[in-house]
Subunit: 420 residues, 4 copies
Amino acid sequence: LSLLSVTAVSDLLASNASAQAHSQPGPGKTLKPQDLVPVKVPPMHHPTEKNDGPPPTPIAPVKRIGYALVGLGKLTIAEILPAFGSCKFSKVVALVSGDADKAGNLARQYGVDPASIYNYENFDNIKNNPEVDVVYIVLPNSMHKEFVLRSARAGKEVLCEKPMTTNSKDAQQMIDACKTAGKKLMIAYRIQYEPNNRMVRSWVRDNKYGKVRLIESTNVQNAGDARQWRLNKALAGGGSLPDIGLYSINTARFLLGEEPEWVSATTYSTPGDDRFKEVEETVLFQMRFPSGVLLNSSCSYGVHDSKRYRVFADKGGWYGMDPAYTYNGLKMEVSHAEGKIEWKENPSLTEKDQFALEMDHMSLCVLENKPVHTPGEEGLQDQVIMEALYESARIGKPVTLRKISGIDVFRGPEPAELNG
Amino acid sequence: LSLLSVTAVSDLLASNASAQAHSQPGPGKTLKPQDLVPVKVPPMHHPTEKNDGPPPTPIAPVKRIGYALVGLGKLTIAEILPAFGSCKFSKVVALVSGDADKAGNLARQYGVDPASIYNYENFDNIKNNPEVDVVYIVLPNSMHKEFVLRSARAGKEVLCEKPMTTNSKDAQQMIDACKTAGKKLMIAYRIQYEPNNRMVRSWVRDNKYGKVRLIESTNVQNAGDARQWRLNKALAGGGSLPDIGLYSINTARFLLGEEPEWVSATTYSTPGDDRFKEVEETVLFQMRFPSGVLLNSSCSYGVHDSKRYRVFADKGGWYGMDPAYTYNGLKMEVSHAEGKIEWKENPSLTEKDQFALEMDHMSLCVLENKPVHTPGEEGLQDQVIMEALYESARIGKPVTLRKISGIDVFRGPEPAELNG
Amino acid sequence: LSLLSVTAVSDLLASNASAQAHSQPGPGKTLKPQDLVPVKVPPMHHPTEKNDGPPPTPIAPVKRIGYALVGLGKLTIAEILPAFGSCKFSKVVALVSGDADKAGNLARQYGVDPASIYNYENFDNIKNNPEVDVVYIVLPNSMHKEFVLRSARAGKEVLCEKPMTTNSKDAQQMIDACKTAGKKLMIAYRIQYEPNNRMVRSWVRDNKYGKVRLIESTNVQNAGDARQWRLNKALAGGGSLPDIGLYSINTARFLLGEEPEWVSATTYSTPGDDRFKEVEETVLFQMRFPSGVLLNSSCSYGVHDSKRYRVFADKGGWYGMDPAYTYNGLKMEVSHAEGKIEWKENPSLTEKDQFALEMDHMSLCVLENKPVHTPGEEGLQDQVIMEALYESARIGKPVTLRKISGIDVFRGPEPAELNG
Amino acid sequence: LSLLSVTAVSDLLASNASAQAHSQPGPGKTLKPQDLVPVKVPPMHHPTEKNDGPPPTPIAPVKRIGYALVGLGKLTIAEILPAFGSCKFSKVVALVSGDADKAGNLARQYGVDPASIYNYENFDNIKNNPEVDVVYIVLPNSMHKEFVLRSARAGKEVLCEKPMTTNSKDAQQMIDACKTAGKKLMIAYRIQYEPNNRMVRSWVRDNKYGKVRLIESTNVQNAGDARQWRLNKALAGGGSLPDIGLYSINTARFLLGEEPEWVSATTYSTPGDDRFKEVEETVLFQMRFPSGVLLNSSCSYGVHDSKRYRVFADKGGWYGMDPAYTYNGLKMEVSHAEGKIEWKENPSLTEKDQFALEMDHMSLCVLENKPVHTPGEEGLQDQVIMEALYESARIGKPVTLRKISGIDVFRGPEPAELNG
């Protein structure tokens, strides 16, 4: 793996050896040392210049983990399918859609075997397709549960888009089903695999500029066609909160590693706006974490796009991202005082495809039979919090949550491949 | 006035003529045409380049409105006294302080006659000082009321720092006292006289990029010495809310021209932080305006400085300021979509001293005997809102406010000198 | 092609039909209508929001143009090989290297048939490999000529990295050889296929903010290992000028469409810096174009990385890029005056892989048998200019060039696929 | 002085004591300790926050150094007269103009005694005006010499705008005349007294990010009215070079402390543009300093305003200002690499009025009888360099300058009041 040290690579290989016994991904997918050694390139630039690290080291296509994509909406077509071109451990091998023409067209475009196209009825046949290691569920929210259960039953590992589902009860059933089937369940929280956000998290954890006391997070965009599934309560489960407000919740939890003690929310929809007949337009919400950190957050489907967060510390600095949460163009920002100077800083890392990073984490966990970093339990906790937020908005009062101690309690081990 | 057209100048002079009969500022303060005509400078730069307008046109020092400054704290020393150097219609002629040494030192530095130094006991003698036209009250919040009343009784016009006072009842008494005395009362909301903020307001009112649906505003800083009056409940009346959260409230009201229907707030102070034994550290607050606009806001005394707001519209754009609310270095920001392009823009105006603009507005109103733009009623309304916010935090529920229709109902006429 | 209108697609297909007769790319590479129709996605965002256009529409892998990469240095490994993952019309099918181990490793990583690995001796056998449509030459500069000639002789289309070669005489021979062989020769000027730069060019051509009078362009970086081929005169032909100064020359020519009348240069190398024993460290150079536009430019191998250009117009505005020329993170900047406001603007387009855009242009030209946009003649002209710059530095005087009238005289037709 | 430590203040006072014996500024202008002690303000902000230093400590108006302004053009009216409002040691006491009406109007605006208005004929009577300590010459360039000589003869200290004059011979005579008269001669290089530029200089001198190898500097603007004196050869001496290109020359010399070994220039004026019938529009120029640093620079009167410089170092960083050279809104920028991160940084200092800083330096030197930091010799050296640049443009070759060793050889002692 391009970012691992040599030791880590051998560790990985050692763990692979035993891992294969348990997980048995598709035939021929046993990693060997040469699969993981990056090609050396000479030091073209001076050592004081930015170091982009070794070049990407994909493993051979035949050894990559095979994905079936369920649901061929905009996210799949415009982001996920193109992202396989940047994957090192993952490839697309099957498509599942209710629209055979669309599936056929995309299969041709991306070189998927027409025999590996499924519809929602015959999806269960996928169990007989040895090319498929992982099913990636990219359906409307209320359909996630059914397909997670069917995927687990088909003996496949599962990657499920966020929000995990529309309620906490279903989320628990999804976790249980995968556990029973002995299959991994990862929720597609790409922010947690994205290097800029991980750097911000390291600053939080290292008390850069003191302890954090306040986080502000905004995720707003302007919904289009009133008939899209995101605006349909039965399909989406809610409006801006589960779709984009969720980023603020999940990212605050990820940065701090803590779980909120109480939450509070207000919802609002512009009267007469036909996009918001079923689901809410805007939610303003707050929560407090055990260390005393407050989160203040806004999400909306009714205004021009803006996605950002700022983390305020108590010893002369703050930092964050603007834009945050977007598929590309992320930018970190830092401000701190130093004597008579106020520094505004934008550190930048070379941009990586976020969907590729996320899928490759899943693939490595499958190849090595390791637990994923963002399992179903991580998604369940967000469902619990969103239910409490809606309850708070309904009763007009803050809602207290069950006390949860410890740090990162719903997360699996750190994704070692991202810590280089 | 440098920014007025020739017609406006003659209008002004006409109105001055009658105004003098009523207001009679100090002797010799009758404006004549030549006092107001800017010196012409040749067009050094191409007409397509930025036009900084005519140079400043101060009136003769002898004709400028004379100010007594009451309270010689940091704001007076570091901002207001130096700002007279940028004033066109205002001069400092008296100082009022409990510290005779400090007053003497500053009087020497700024050329104030030692005979025009007062203390809090003999302050009422100021009525005999014809050089003093306006008393500018820069004391701890809870002392504002007493000195507004004494100033009005002394027959002086009054400029009072924000927050106007610590409760709405006192605010009403201050308004009444000035009305009875036939004296102007202006609250020092410098944001409302600052050109960048006025430009943002014009965008709101003109529906640039559609109608506004959401405003976010943040005003946080890190308090120092635990013994300062701002952290003393009896002197300050509250913590971060009345001092800096007030900017978010007042600016949102100023931008929209509307008054909130309901407000909601949560307060928090870090346990064991000895700065926050009496007053609150942090307030997260929300409000909704009649047109449906939501405000989400944070203020805090416990984290690194950040002051900004963003106004989100529903047709492809948002705009705001970051930093906002600071004494200098204000920067506007705009984002809007145009086909495949997302534009991020920073328009800039040549920076002006904000305290000078504010004092010069007061002085022009005195010279012309016109109503001020931000009278006591504007300050009272903020007191009403802050009381409701504290009540909301106390009961853990939103608080509904008395319905107020109309636009800019608590404001005086537009400051014509700022509309060029 | 995803960005073409339906009419353009049918035009393209019509031209394809006849094109195939002449160019005959690999068997089965005849485009059909369904190869080019993007999958429709519903309008998720409001029409006033940024429009990212239709999703990418790759053609089926079997139909994509096959590339042999000659030279497996850092550019190939870290940029070009990964870029195939973002290509819509191009795939890698062969590798050519003097290092069999490296070639074998990369072939495994990218799924290249081991039988399609060549070395510099047996390279000519590539003529028997029907999978290879295009040879992409990524070797040290002085080796370009030999491999262009051998590729043409092998009956392959040629894409050659910049600088084309080390002198204008060789450049002419390369052009002649491809012409004789009836093969395309494209120079890899990725800037000319990059959407941000193309937008800046459209502003120049449209006289945005008036006529351009001045361009400043900087391309500096800090060279590493003194033994690398870029610092070897025999391999590189020169130092910072042909490697990175070339970007300034070629981009100015591209933006304006004109050719310089005279050029002037000064070279300098820090005494005792062992990286610059053979090639120059820094060149400051100037040129004037027939319309009177001046270019002032710096390139250096001795300082911290900075790549940018600014185009100055004569009616209230300038625009450019900072950074420019980098592989990613490009950012446009605009400044213009409007009354009392100076606007600083950063328009952004969704980032695209620049190597993929460039290779896909070559592939489309092969599929359609159309002339490339940046043929050998475009590269030859840069060689002529660089020779004049070195001559100017040698004699300490400006050097006049042969007068060339017309616009874009060395370029092929506009890349239609980039004009959507 | 507000920025001096207590020790420095006593040093200053000690030196004042003896200084008064020699320089004898106007009666009553002897500084006493209490004149210089800033008023204490309590630590309102946390010690980790930005420290703006003590508030300004002006000395009593009666003790401030009195200025006569010669020439009432745009710079005087729009910048210098308003700047006295921000001065701590300087006041305007006399005006000299050929336009009596304008002088009268401005005298009234700024409270100047009508008896202290002079014209160019009776200017020499200023010797009898004890209020005038310093004559500040803000006339067209070719008139500087005459008025420096007449001012020195009148027994006044002299502050002269840049460029010092139109040729090096005159510059030498101006130096000689002031020396003979025992009067100070300071050239108004405001950049050398401006805190941001001084911070950049400290980075250069401290080898921040290694040794500097390259500086780029741009100063372009778009001239207006073709009849203005700046476009008249007899009055201005040249076009964009002496007016704005001079900033690049002087700032590079200031940053490095070195003097150029050779210079090279190209000039150009757009044919038919009636602004450039007498003076040049654009100059591209280069120079090399003894340490090997290269300067590449552009100045122009024909394009949209842009003023900036960037200093490139050889160990992972560069820094500079964009905008630079402007009267306000200066912004520093820094870029440096750190592992996988490229940092872009904007440090900011609280903005100060640049003309006030410059005049206050002159005033302090008069009050203390100390040598000025930018004496006539500093201006003469720029004249020598500009003559060489014009010569280079004329002959089409670089011009070698007399070798000058040492650092800051043409400058007086550091301005101690700016080093806090």
